[in-house]
Symmetry: C2
Subunit: 150 residues, 2 copies
Amino acid sequence: MAVSKAEIERRMKRFAETCRTGGLKTTHQRMEVFRELAGAETHPDAETIYRHVRRRVPAISRDTVYRTLATLEEQGLVHKAEIVSGRGRYDANMEHHHHFICTACGRVHDFYSPTLDDLPIPKSVSALGRVESTQVQLRGLCTNCAKDKR
Amino acid sequence: MAVSKAEIERRMKRFAETCRTGGLKTTHQRMEVFRELAGAETHPDAETIYRHVRRRVPAISRDTVYRTLATLEEQGLVHKAEIVSGRGRYDANMEHHHHFICTACGRVHDFYSPTLDDLPIPKSVSALGRVESTQVQLRGLCTNCAKDKR
DNA sequence: CTCTAAATAGGAACCATTCCGATTAAAGAA
DNA sequence: TTCTTTAATCGGAATGGTTCCTATTTAGAG
């Protein structure tokens, strides 16, 4: 189930909008990096994004990809999940969602749950600091890897 | 509030026990790396552990620290949290707990909640794979960093 | 069209982690 | 205790992801 055309369209519009209001130049490279994420569901890492975008923008540099991802995150256009093996993974799905992480292949799957979006935070936490975001991480063997094991 | 003497004692015993049953040699280096974590509450990273242990075992190598941490994790003696900036952080607290991560300083604080230990996992997740562990991550500004900002 | 600040390319640098080959030492057997 | 086996260690080189640096390019304002 790929991201729908309409959703990609919507995300690209938001990108253009954010560039304008944020005073960012809408460079070809920037646009293509975001487009890559707007249509992805696999939480690709920077290297994967780099390889894919290079097909369309052959001269793009890794540095640009990394810088652009950081900029997009600052602007709230993409989400960076620091999950496994120190390799950041990105997605353009800004709805509140949670992650199922496969302990074998490292793949990250989104899932949704209104209940989990609004967790009962214990009082003791207020002593630690002010909570700005919450996220649930589930770990286990994904269906694919479970199949391979047999 | 440091880890109590009794708790450290208990953890060291478990370490010795696990080495025996797991067929691991209880080397001086191994013991000191674990001792460092048994008494820590700060989720130190490998480099920090290395620097501390080196006071007691001056010739210890980074490789040994990294290998030992991996071994201890395999044996279920320590817990590795992959949280920020690709730097693994370790703790010897094996009770089910959750993390409050400061978005400014990156420090990780544990907190406990029986309610959060047993989350209602949405049915849709079963299509993704078999859940083996659950964890809640809260992000925000810790009290310390909030103070500094003012 | 011109100008300027922002952004990019490409390669060097950086840093955490892992690998490798030679050496050491834990622990079971004698 | 001493011997033997083999896991574990050391230290430095290698790796891989990410960031930095500087010259060059370009988006967008005027």
